[in-house]
């Protein structure tokens, strides 16, 4: 039931985004037809207007456009005219990989660091890691990115520099993950800081619970207590925040793509904005909105999987 409601809410949001972007696109001075034709003259404009459905009333056009959208026709980019669908299809895997890869790195780094900090709360390691995360939270991605690129591609040439050719993940996974590591790490830094802080705080609280004392009394090893008993009940706040984080991850991905000259959705959007290519801006915005909402529904679902209390509470 809850999932159904979330999905309905998500659909309503997507529809709203569609309507708002369509409204503003249609209100812009200079029709798409005029831009496509350039100086070619009125006959061309009339012809293109008919193709683009521009001569019809606003709502008729909106529903026609929406119908095309549902059939997967996202329209055509301005100069050079290319189907937006294929442009996005070529670009989105990079952005998606960047976001997922960064989250994997963030979790792999944040969990052990948070555990070690929580185990010796206020110890030297705890204070060091807390200070480090506080500092990294304050530095914007567009400063961290170039600095990381400088250190790890120029001073220490461990990784290929920006504008490196990214092979497909399926044809050459090793090389792909190697090239994408530095960009993903850049994007992960913010998440590492957030997850480490939240996880540490929750972990400190969990470690004082009775069942942890019980586990200790049974003589379980510290590692087993941490990973099997303490980790799961400490992840709820982090999960919730991970959902909220998706928005800032998309923001970060746009910048990281520019820093490392990756051809993802962010660079498509940036280029479209610079060229005032409104149909493309519109299409990318809608794709991002759908992605964002799908992520949030997924995290809600994951939440019920991890926390049995939520599952039962919601059913009741």
């Amino acid at each position: 039931m809850v999932a159904a409601r979330r999905i309905l809410e998500g659909l309503a949001t997507v529809l709203l985004v569609c309507f708002v972007t369509f409204f503003f696109t249609s209100k812009m001075p200079g029709s798409e037809a005029a831009v496509i034709c350039g100086p070619a003259g009125t006959a061309c404009v009339r012809h293109e207007s008919a193709i683009l459905y521009l001569n019809h009333p606003f709502f008729e056009r909106f529903f026609h456009w929406l119908g095309e959208l549902l059939q997967g026709n996202l329209g055509v980019t301005l100069a050079p005219p290319e189907p937006i669908g294929s442009v996005i299809a070529g670009a989105y895997p990079i952005t998606l990989e960047l976001i997922i890869y960064s989250q994997v790195i963030a979790v792999v780094v944040a969990i052990p660091v948070a555990m070690w900090s929580a185990l010796r709360a206020n110890g030297l390691f705890d204070r060091l890691s807390t200070t480090a995360t506080f500092a990294t939270l304050a530095i914007p991605v567009f400063i961290v990115g170039p600095l990381l690129a400088l250190v790890f591609t120029v001073k220490l040439p461990w990784f290929p520099g920006p504008a490196a050719n990214v092979p497909s993940l399926w044809s050459d996974p090793g090389q792909n993950l190697y090239v994408m590591f530095l960009p993903s790490l850049t994007l992960a830094i913010g998440s590492i800081a957030v997850y480490q802080r939240l996880l540490r705080a929750d972990m400190v609280a969990t470690l004082e619970e009775d069942f942890i004392v019980m586990a200790r009394a049974k003589g379980l090893s510290t590692a087993r207590i941490l990973f099997r008993h303490a980790l799961r009940p400490s992840t709820f706040t982090t999960m919730t925040v991970a959902g909220i984080q998706v928005g800032s991850l998309i923001t970060g991905a746009i910048i990281v793509e520019t820093v490392f000259a990756l051809h993802g959705l962010g660079s498509v959007l940036t280029a479209a904005v610079a060229a005032k290519d409104l149909p493309t801006v519109q299409a990318v915005t809608i794709v991002v909105a759908v992605f964002y909402i799908v992520c949030n529904v997924l995290i809600d679902f994951l939440y019920t999987v991890i926390d049995p209390r939520v599952r039962r509470g919601r059913r009741a």
């Binding site: 709203l16 923001t251 520019t258 610079a274």
Partner: protein
């Protein structure tokens, strides 16, 4: 302590006739009680600062360093054209030969022969104007709407909550880029765009503070006495939510500066050749293998400003006892 003494003197003046003529403040127990009450009233009415000097002393020296840094940047932004630095857009031919620092170019030059120091100092104008102006706009819009929504609640509150939530949930930079595509990218446009994106945060903060304060006894008592909503809002609740609005506003300025920096970095803020910290960082990151100064100078400038203003906001939040709860 100082406040109490001041309050006593002023109330002494008010109640001049009677035992007070003896010239001894707090002569009778009743007089002291009246004094205390008046002092309380005055504090609430804003005649006496609600925060005592002792609490400001607990801010620590780090706070004043941060204030000095922010103050210095504000002065630089205002008086950049009076400083003994070259024009930020003029090209020095000598500098094209060697971009490294010299006596005439303390931080060296960028790849097109323009003075980096001058560009960093002039770049503060864009960042600071957009940072402060956009947050000022969102303080007014978000603050007023937050007060109204928090005080009246009901359908107005619900509608505004839905609108602000949908603004906050969507990726910030995507919305900003979309608006740049539709609106434009002059200094005014960018200020407006960031204000449109920032008001929901201040709305939520002010709304939460208003809800909290509106349930307190003195507000309920004032309403029970028949005070008009307008009076309750302006003379009771407004002063109460100002500390919250100001401290979160300061953090908002830092966020706005970073946001403008991100747009600039993508080359989609105020157009070239105007120097901004963001577009300098972008330029510097393309030439960092040969000249690091072009990347580091604007980065250090921006970092010092956002760190200082964040620090001020953080310390004030502690001292003014602004709670994070119920947001």
């Amino acid at each position: 302590m100082a406040d109490e003494r001041e309050a006593t003197v002023s109330s002494h003046d008010l109640t001049a006739p009677g035992p007070m003529e003896l010239g001894v403040p707090g002569f009778s127990p009743t007089a002291t009680m009246v004094d205390a009450e008046l002092a309380g009233l005055e504090a609430r009415e804003g005649l006496v600062p609600a925060v005592s000097k002792r609490r400001f002393k607990s801010l620590g020296w780090g706070f004043w360093v941060a204030v000095a840094i922010v103050g210095a940047w504000i002065l630089v932004a205002i008086f950049a054209n009076l400083l003994p630095i070259p024009d930020p857009n003029s090209v020095d031919v000598n500098c094209l030969v060697s971009t490294s620092p010299s006596s005439s170019h303390l931080l060296g030059c960028d790849t097109t022969g323009r003075d980096i120091l001058a560009r960093v100092l002039f770049g503060s104008r864009v960042s600071l104007v957009i940072g402060f102006a956009s947050i000022a706009i969102s303080e007014v819009v978000g603050g007023v709407l937050g007060l109204l929504a928090g005080y009246f609640r009901g359908s107005l509150d619900e509608v505004l909550a839905i609108i602000s939530n949908s603004f906050l949930s969507f990726p910030f930079l995507v919305l900003a880029l979309v608006m740049v595509a539709y609106v434009g990218r002059s200094l005014f446009d960018i200020t407006l765009i960031i204000a449109i994106l920032a008001w929901p945060i201040l709305f939520r903060v002010v709304r939460a503070a208003t809800i909290e304060h509106a349930q307190r006894d003195y507000v309920l008592a004032t309403r029970a006495l028949g005070a008009k909503s307008w009076r309750v809002l302006t003379s009771l609740l407004l002063p109460d939510v100002v500390p919250t609005a100001v401290t979160f506003g300061l953090v908002g300025v830092a966020v706005a500066v970073v946001g403008e920096g991100a747009l600039s970095f993508l080359g989609l803020s105020v157009p070239a050749p105007t120097a901004t910290w963001g577009n300098m960082i972008a330029q510097g990151s393309t030439s960092m293998t040969t000249d690091l100064s072009l990347l580091l100078s604007p980065a250090v400038a921006m970092f010092s400003f956002i760190l200082a203003i964040n620090f001020i906001g953080d310390r004030l939040r502690g001292v003014l006892n602004v709670r994070h709860g119920a947001l």
